[in-house]
């Protein structure tokens, strides 16, 4: 027959106490079980407020709940949207840079030809 440890016997007695029954314990565990009974009586369940309960239920059931969850966890809510936005931004940046380069090159040619004309006129 195996001898159970004090923590094992205490845990079993607490389990009985929490089930609403009166456990029988030896003198060693008596005072500890007295504390356990006091804790069980004092630390009662505390329900949340009704409005909080309903508000959170709505958030969990709605699409907004999942979106916010993803945001809070640092994840994109719609990964394909992020990719599409990134691709569009890259394309727009490319077009802008090219247009600027063409414009700049045109200006440079224009000013160069003007300077040549001025020099020829002198």
């Amino acid at each position: 027959m195996t001898t159970r440890s004090t923590p094992e016997r205490l845990d079993e007695a607490v389990e009985t106490l929490l089930a609403g029954e009166r456990p029988t314990v030896d003198a060693e565990l008596g005072p500890l079980l007295g504390v356990a009974a006091r804790l069980s009586d004092s630390l009662r369940p505390v329900p949340p407020g009704r409005s909080f309960e309903q508000q959170l239920a709505r958030r969990l059931s709605g699409d907004g709940g999942i979106l916010r969850t993803a945001r809070e966890l640092g994840l994109p809510g719609r990964p394909w949207r992020l990719l599409a936005a990134g691709a569009l931004s890259s394309a727009a940046l490319g077009v802008t840079v090219t247009a600027f380069a063409v414009w700049r090159s045109g200006r440079r040619h224009h000013s160069l030809s003007q300077r040549l004309l001025q020099r020829q006129a002198r």
Binding site: D11, L18, L32, L39, S42, P45, P47, R50, R68, A70
Partner: protein, 193 residues
């Protein structure tokens, strides 16, 4: 939210691994089915957060974060030893621990006045006696090392078994029983002073 209407406290939740598993599988197929698990564990998670943080506002915030994170992570939950209840409380434990650390950085004081929301028709004398008793217990609890305090809350507020507490804290069931034994020994000395 102190003026918020409050329900009657429900009895401590008991482990329902079979019905939990069925509800988890349903919620993994259809997110709307998560409501069953939400209704089942809302009171327990809220009470756990409340006793950890000592404030209704912080408890609401931690409860909300816990359920949103659980809903997001639900597809990855697998029935591999750990119960859904222990898995959910582990999320709550991490959320409440982060909130405690954050509050410690802000140097705010826990357990403010009006810790409990009394029923409007409660007997004032009993209310005062109960408040005094609760204050004494909470003060003694606050002096415990973190893990021992966690074990007491999980065991007495939420009714988790030693095995489940071990899963929440990342310890063996035996280690959880030893922590409970030490916590009760410490509290016996403190409350008997």
């Amino acid at each position: 939210m102190s003026g918020d209407a409050q329900r009657e406290p429900q009895p401590r939740a008991t482990a329902r691994p079979d019905s939990d598993l069925a509800a988890v599988r349903a919620a993994q197929r259809d997110r709307a089915a998560f409501e069953v698990l939400y209704r089942r564990y809302l009171d327990g998670i809220y009470a756990y957060a409340f006793y950890q943080l000592g404030d209704h506002h912080d408890a609401e915030d931690a409860t909300e974060r816990t359920f949103l994170a659980a809903l997001a992570a639900l597809p990855s939950f697998r029935d591999e030893g750990a119960s859904f209840r222990a898995w959910l409380y582990r999320i709550a434990h991490n959320t409440a621990s982060n909130a405690r650390r954050s509050r410690f950085r802000r140097r705010a004081q826990p357990l403010p006045e009006g810790f409990e929301r009394p029923a409007p028709d409660a007997d004032p004398a009993r209310l005062v006696a109960r408040a005094d008793e609760l204050r004494e217990v909470l003060d003694a609890l606050a002096e415990l090392p973190d893990e021992r305090r966690q074990v007491v809350i999980l065991r007495f507020v939420d009714g988790l078994s030693a095995a489940e507490i071990g899963e929440v804290l990342g310890r063996s069931p035996g280690a959880a029983r030893v922590l409970l034994h030490r916590a009760l020994r410490d509290l016996s000395a403190r409350l008997g002073r």
